[in-house]
């Protein structure tokens, strides 16, 4: 390829990023290896994003990144430069959102450790893509809960998503 010489990109150990978190603009310099979950929890003190496995499996660390639910434990903070993030702290400007309220009313949480991950998945996806109770199961299948057996969670989502069948 005889294209003009490429812009030289220098790999660095400390990466400047600007990112919007819960509608707030954040500028930071992060270590290249810092996990996004640790950036949110340690640097921004948004400890509602929980860490249960650091390998993408449990879903506790799920956040909304540019409109998609993603795992913050297997992303680098450096990768979110220019993005917009919502965490559980940003779900409601005050009080509880209808989804959160439905979790409360239907006993959708016990220890609550998995809960922010479920909420962020559910608040981010389009309910129409997940019809019926089977759809809800599919939507939350990437989030593990060890306490509830999912009964209360399914009931909460049926309530929040106005689904009356078999519940």
């Amino acid at each position: 390829m005889s294209a003009p010489a490429a812009r030289r990109v220098e790999p660095v150990a400390e990466v400047p990023i600007s990112v919007t978190v819960n509608a707030r603009a954040v500028e930071a310099v992060v270590p290249a290896r810092q996990l996004l979950a640790d950036f949110l929890r340690d640097d921004l003190r948004l400890t509602g994003t929980h860490v249960g496995c650091e390998q993408g499996i449990c879903g506790a660390c799920t956040i909304n990144l540019d409109g998609e639910p993603v795992r913050s434990c297997i992303m680098l903070a450096a990768q979110v430069d220019g993005s917009s993030i919502t965490t559980v702290e940003g779900l409601a400007s005050e009080g509880l959102s209808p989804l959160q309220q439905a979790f409360k009313d239907n006993h959708g949480l016990q220890c609550g450790f998995c809960t922010p991950g479920f909420l962020m998945t559910l608040a981010t996806v389009d309910p129409d893509e997940y019809p019926g109770t089977d759809g809800i199961r599919e939507a939350i299948s990437g989030n593990l809960c060890r306490c509830t057996g999912y009964g209360g969670i399914l009931q909460a989502v049926r309530t929040a998503w106005n689904r009356v069948e078999d519940g």
């Binding site: 270590p31 509602g48 496995c53 449990c58 009313d105 016990q110 609550g112 593990l144 060890r146 057996g149």
Partner: protein, 795 residues
């Protein structure tokens, strides 16, 4: 039960869905778990763990790690000169592992902590931990319970005569005599190794303030943890405070006081900086307690109609390396205590062995020995029915305890004072058979699959003594109640909350027992500085025993409230009722005095109290159930629990003949935990318990190879997701216990203990044409597929 345990005049919360007080915080990300705590000058640790299953430590080199920028210290067992090994209070009948927080000269499992790096943060601590070099002289590993029973197997502990930590052989002559004169059936059942796997790993943060050690940790017992730390560190108990903030699930795994709790405390004391440990999931897989891993051998004398006349049972539990505190042999004893099930089986002699192997130490996990007993016994009954040619349901009916049999003392010593064994069984049979008919109609023509239904009936001891596990603590719980001058109430109790709703339960009972609005009740749990000594969470005890202590304390306060109110209203105490924070004569709401007015008089305007009455409006009470026994008799019989809940399970499954996969189509459970305090919380406990039971029955499997290397990474540890969990139908029976406060029994474990048995029996039913041997869990697809002949898929 004595009248001491009563709710107030007009209970309004008990038995209803009181929403949980912590939910607002948890739902908006404001609940602080241990890993969410931080201090500006905090340091973090990473643990160097053994990579071999069995070996002598020849050398540990830490210099390179210590030189990494940001590393504060690297320590090994040799540095902990002032630390004592964990105590063993059971030395009269067990061997002593002499567990030390860091490996001293031997390692006995992959994951055993060998050295600890303290650094500015976890990233640096992990960098340095990789640089610690440990030389091992490897020894042959003992990796199965069968090997450990072999007297010639290499010994884990040189000072033990063999690898048996515990070996109890009670007199079985009665059972033996009956076996000798009857048809005998023998079977061996095994339950694999799986564990609690809470979504939050273990964590702790130790901080020294004013010379006292403050430890925030994920342990299930603030006071037991404090006492244990005081033994091990060793340090005056008054100088230690243990606080348990929000905990992301415990399920028994967090009952143990782990080495990292001790080492973090030691480092905080030594270096004067707050020290945090947050276990990562890879560590959790090998260093947090495993569970189950039992073998149950049954020999039974069988009548012509299949009834069990007598049983001789040998329970063997694989303890892993046994280096854990409190010790982990108690599930095997609990298996023994549940071997008769809720059946009229007159003779049952159980011997128990608990053996050490080069695997992660076993510990406690919801169910605690009962799933093992239920799986073995309920599979055995189905096998008897098949062998003798009787109906498996009728065989159960012929042995099940009826209400008129109660109270009944089982051959193992459990006092069943109430229950709905036969009724709950008939209910699930009715629903289970109907569900099976539906499934058969829907899938009957499918050549690729088979459907089946299976049942399990069980009782489970709830509110047990702690003595079985620790040989030290017994079974009481505590509660303090104080009414403040404005009428608000502070309740402090030794119970703890890992998500079960304990806080809500305490508030509910306190509000009803005192007749005040629940919003005016403040609950304080799990801080050893501000709560009275209690034993915390284990064995579904908190409602019964914690509730008992609360009702006793509330009763005292209530009596005094009435005496003061009687004086103020010029009425007699017996005519008074307390409701919504006001006291008035029954039937006439006015005049009334408020709780605030009464409390103000009790603690401020004490000169206005009735003559001779002492100031104050508070009480502290402790409750220890009288019938709970702590030590078995010479035949090994013991009534170790304050109460017994019961349940019946039915599973309708579909088996894919091509892949061996089991799909649960319907799951039905009838449950009896006596008086229900909060229905959705009870249902939540049941659903959650079933999910864990299903996980153990079908999916979860902690495997080791012949070298003792763990084979199951987190990604292979298959906890059910919402797609694997069936909808559950729950039917409630309420048989209040005459021997517990309000007739309550615990609910925490009933869902967990039955699924392996019910699903195993359903599988036997579904695959009856292939005559499968279903005697081990987990029933993974590969295991199930091996039961099906290759042509089976096509026939």
């Amino acid at each position: 039960m004595a009248d001491a345990f009563v709710l107030g005049s007009r209970p309004v919360y008990t038995g209803t869905h009181v929403t949980r007080r912590q939910d607002d915080a948890l739902l908006s990300g404001r609940g602080a778990y241990v890993a969410d705590l931080r201090r500006d000058d905090m340091a973090e640790i990473a643990v160097v763990r053994s990579t071999v299953a069995h070996g002598r430590i020849a050398a540990i080199r830490t210099a390179e790690a210590a030189a990494v920028a940001g590393v504060i210290a690297v320590i090994t067992a040799a540095d902990l000169t002032d630390v004592s090994p964990y105590p063993n209070f059971a030395s009269a009948y067990t061997q002593t592992p002499g567990t030390f927080p860091l490996a001293q000269d031997k390692v006995r499992y992959v994951g055993s902590p060998v050295a600890v790096v303290l650094a500015e943060n976890r990233y640096i601590a992990e960098d340095a931990a990789e640089l610690v070099e440990v030389d091992y002289e490897e020894l042959p590993a003992v990796t199965s319970l069968e090997d450990a029973l072999d007297p010639d197997s290499p010994r884990l502990f040189e000072h033990w005569p063999n690898n048996r930590l515990l070996d109890l052989q009670p007199d079985d002559s009665e059972a033996a005599a009956i076996l000798a004169g009857n048809r005998v059936l023998r079977r061996r059942y095994k339950m694999g190794r799986h564990t609690a796997m809470p979504m939050e790993t273990r964590a702790c943060m130790a901080e020294v303030r004013d010379g006292r050690l403050h430890l925030w940790c994920t342990n299930q017992h603030a006071h037991i943890a404090r006492t244990t730390l005081s033994y091990v560190l060793p340090m005056a108990e008054r100088d230690i405070r243990v606080v348990i903030p929000y905990v992301g699930g415990g399920f028994g795994l967090k009952q143990h006081l782990y080495p990292e709790d001790v080492v973090a405390s030691w480092l905080a004391l030594r270096h004067g900086r707050p020290v945090r440990f947050v276990e990562d999931r890879a560590e959790h897989m090998i260093a947090a307690a495993h569970a189950r891993d039992h073998m149950v051998d049954i020999e039974a004398a069988i009548a012509d109609d299949g009834r069990i006349l007598a049983m001789r049972v040998q329970v063997v539990q694989d303890l892993g390396s046994a280096e854990i505190f409190p010790g982990a042999w108690c599930p095997a004893l609990t298996t023994a205590a549940h071997m008769t099930g809720p059946y009229d089986i007159g003779h049952c002699a159980v011997s128990v062995a608990a053996v050490a192997t080069n695997k992660t130490p076993g510990g406690s996990y919801r169910g605690f020995g009962v799933p093992e007993a239920v799986f073995a016994l309920e599979r055995f009954i189905d096998e008897i029915a098949a062998e003798v040619g009787v109906d498996r349901l009728d065989l159960r009916r012929s042995m099940l305890l009826q209400s008129e049999d109660l109270p009944y003392k089982t051959a193992s010593g459990a006092l069943l004072d109430s229950g709905s064994f036969a009724e709950s069984f008939e209910k699930v049979v009715e629903l289970g058979e109907a569900a099976h008919r539906r499934a058969a109609a829907q899938h009957g023509t499918d050549q690729q699959s088979r459907v089946g239904v299976g049942y399990a009936v069980l009782f489970e001891g709830v509110s047990p003594t702690h003595h079985g596990a620790s040989a030290h603590w017994a079974g009481h719980e505590s509660c303090s109640i104080e009414v403040l001058p404005d009428g608000g109430v502070r309740v402090a109790s030794g119970v703890t909350d890992q998500g079960q709703g304990t806080t809500t339960f305490v508030a509910t009972l306190a509000a009803d027992a005192l007749g005040v609005p629940i919003e005016t009740v403040e609950v304080e749990l799990a801080d050893s500085d501000s709560t009275p000594y209690g034993l915390g969470a284990f064995g579904s005890r908190q409602a019964v025993i914690g509730g008992g202590a609360l009702l006793l304390a509330a009763g005292e306060v209530r009596d005094k409230v009435k005496r003061i109110a009687a004086h103020m209203l010029e009425a007699t105490e017996d005519d008074l009722v307390i409701e919504a924070g006001r006291v008035h004569v029954a039937g006439s709401p006015e005049p009334a005095v408020t709780m605030a007015a009464i409390a103000t008089r009790a603690v401020i305007r004490t000169m206005d109290l009735p003559p001779g009455m002492a100031p104050g409006l508070e009480a502290t009470a402790r409750y220890e159930p009288e019938l709970m026994e702590h030590v078995p008799d010479e035949r090994g019989r013991i009534n170790a629990s304050a109460s017994y809940a019961n349940a019946a399970h039915a599973a309708v499954i579909r088996v894919d003949l091509g892949t061996g996969e089991i799909e649960i189509l319907d799951y039905i459970l009838a449950h009896d935990c006596g008086r229900v305090i909060n229905p959705p919380i009870v249902d939540g406990q049941i659903w959650g318990g079933i999910a864990q039971g299903v996980g153990g029955a079908l999916y979860e499997d902690l495997r080791f190879n012949d070298l003792g290397q763990p084979q199951t990474a987190f990604m292979d540890y298959l906890m059910p997701s919402a797609l694997e969990m069936p909808e559950v139908v729950i039917k409630h029976f309420e048989s209040p216990s005459p021997n517990t406060p309000l007739g309550m029994k615990g609910v925490g474990e009933g869902g967990t203990v039955g699924p392996a048995a019910a699903i195993g029996n359903a599988l036997a039913h579904a695959l009856a044409e292939f005559n499968p041997q279903i005697r081990e869990t987990p029933l993974s697809p590969a295991v199930v597929r091996a039961m099906i002949p290759d042509r089976g898929a096509a026939t």
